[in-house]
Amino acid sequence: MKKMNMLKMALYGAAMIGLMTSGEALAEGKKLVLDGSTTVGPLAKAFASYYTKTTGVEVTVSESGSGNGAKSLINKTCDIADMSRAMKENELEAAKSQGVNPVQNVVALDGLAIIVHPSNRVKGLTKEQVRDIYTGKVTNWSQVGGPKAPIVVIQRESNSGTQDSFKELIMGEEKVSEKAETQASNGAIKSRVASTPNAVGFVGLAFVNRSIKALAVNGVKPEVRTVKDGTYPVHRKLFMYTNGQPTGDVKKFIDLPKTPAGKRMITEIGFVNNY
């Protein structure tokens, strides 16, 4: 009998713990979960700490890449998916089949900077030259007005939104050469280019600093001004996708770019404000 009682108690305990945890999960609006692009990540984190400070709502931000962000939104494991590209046709279909209605919200603009080692003589390239370097047609810096040295081409993993944007904005139908090295994040590309004299890579504008040199494309330098007025040719929109039209805390969070504080954060991180 005693054993039976113990067993019952254990069962009740387990059930109570189960109820408590599910209750926590049900308390929506008290916690925001963001997942997705490593490009949007720094901005989402800045927004998150600001939002938590002003409203007390807990916000968690994961950076697992745009593709994973979309996946999380489809699987309903996040409230907002940070993405550095628009959702693809097959992702939208997958969302629909899961009963999720992804809504696109533009939070900022971003220029993709083509970066080289600071010691590189080359100051600018045309879009075609960048493409030829990445297809492997141009293999030496001397072919584009630089020193006589082979080019080390660095790209992003195939699950990166930055890689998708690069393919869309620069490569078009062409393929990136098989010889191109592959790195897993903006930061990794930056540190590789900063330590490799003959390397070329691409990162979001927010990641440009003194350790590397951003090249002008078609004669236009990647700067806040040139991205905003659209003269810098390699720029894109950054999105936060929500399930359905944003409401409540999600809406307040998504609308941060319209506030002065949000605008300041966007500029501080190095993106360009859309509003």
Binding site: G65, A94, E157, S158, K179, T182, S191, T196
Partner: protein, 387 residues
Amino acid sequence: MNGDSPATAGRSSAFIVSARKRKLQKITRMAGESTLFLIAAVVAIIVLFIFYFVARDAVPFFQIRGFSEFFTKTDWYPADDPPRFGALAIIYGSLMVTAGSALIAVPMGVSAAICLSDVIPFSVRQYVKPIIEMLAAIPSVAFGFFALVILAPLLQNFGGPILMWTWWLIASPFLLLAVIVVSELLSTSIQDDSRRRVVQRILVAVFGLLSLLFLFFVGKHLQEIQILTGTNALNVSIILSFMALPTIVSVSEDALQAVGRDLREGSYALGATRAETIVKIILPAASSGILAAVILGIMRSLGETMVVWMASGNSSHVPEPWYNYLESVRTLTATIAGDMGEADQVTGSARFHVLFAMGLLLLVISFISNFISERIVVRQRKVLSGQ
């Protein structure tokens, strides 16, 4: 009979267990045995389950795309439209870095094990072995970070000199040994002692000079090499060899210790030197254990993911020429880790299943090498026991 039967019964009653108790004993024994058997079986079942689930998701890939593209083509564009799944370059990359790390780790590891077990004093060994084994405790991401942030720029900036010094360090003792042995062999035919000594000295001087020139010229060539990118097969091979070293050293040192004092002392008693004892007695006797150590170390290199992902450069092409360790490569493990994020069942099924095909390939390779090592160990044991 009748008279002493109660006495017998009384005396042995301590040993005769009642039927009920015997039954209980049998049940508990069976329960104990089956629990132990179950626990042992779980391990085997886990392996079978992994095999089954990996194979189950790998088969659809081959059904969709066939075998020839995966094994014979080198263009790897899984995200493109239409996708390309040529994995030959990636398979080659895996084999290349594994071979490279084995080339560094096996001679180093076995020599270190010999040194630990037969050369240095026991009291020193007690301190050195735990330090070597500590290498195994360093997380692989720390190794990867080291490779990416320290070793890669180092190779880029000082690649030539590093290669040259490594060449000098490795080649000069071997050449010195070769010069001495060759001059000794060439002069054995001379009968007169003093004349032989003179000829020997001249030969040593001539060959020594020649090999010094050889060392110098190769070194100069190596020094002129500009390593274009530090995240390459060489970088990964070096780091992987560090990671395989503790396994190889530790397991082969155990094998050398297991040879025992009697063989060693027997050898010394017959007048063999320490070098002869090590090379002719201990190493052959411990060879199966050393082989097991080597296979374990190689499996460690083949299966390592984080380091190769961070430090190999991940470019999916076969280096030109094929033995060029200074180019970036991509491995099976890094591809699985890197592409997993996008390759969901939701988006593109071949893309998802190809990663399982790679996992299956890795499993098959490790099963085959385990099987081969097992066979060699068994055969070796037979040879040693004189059958």
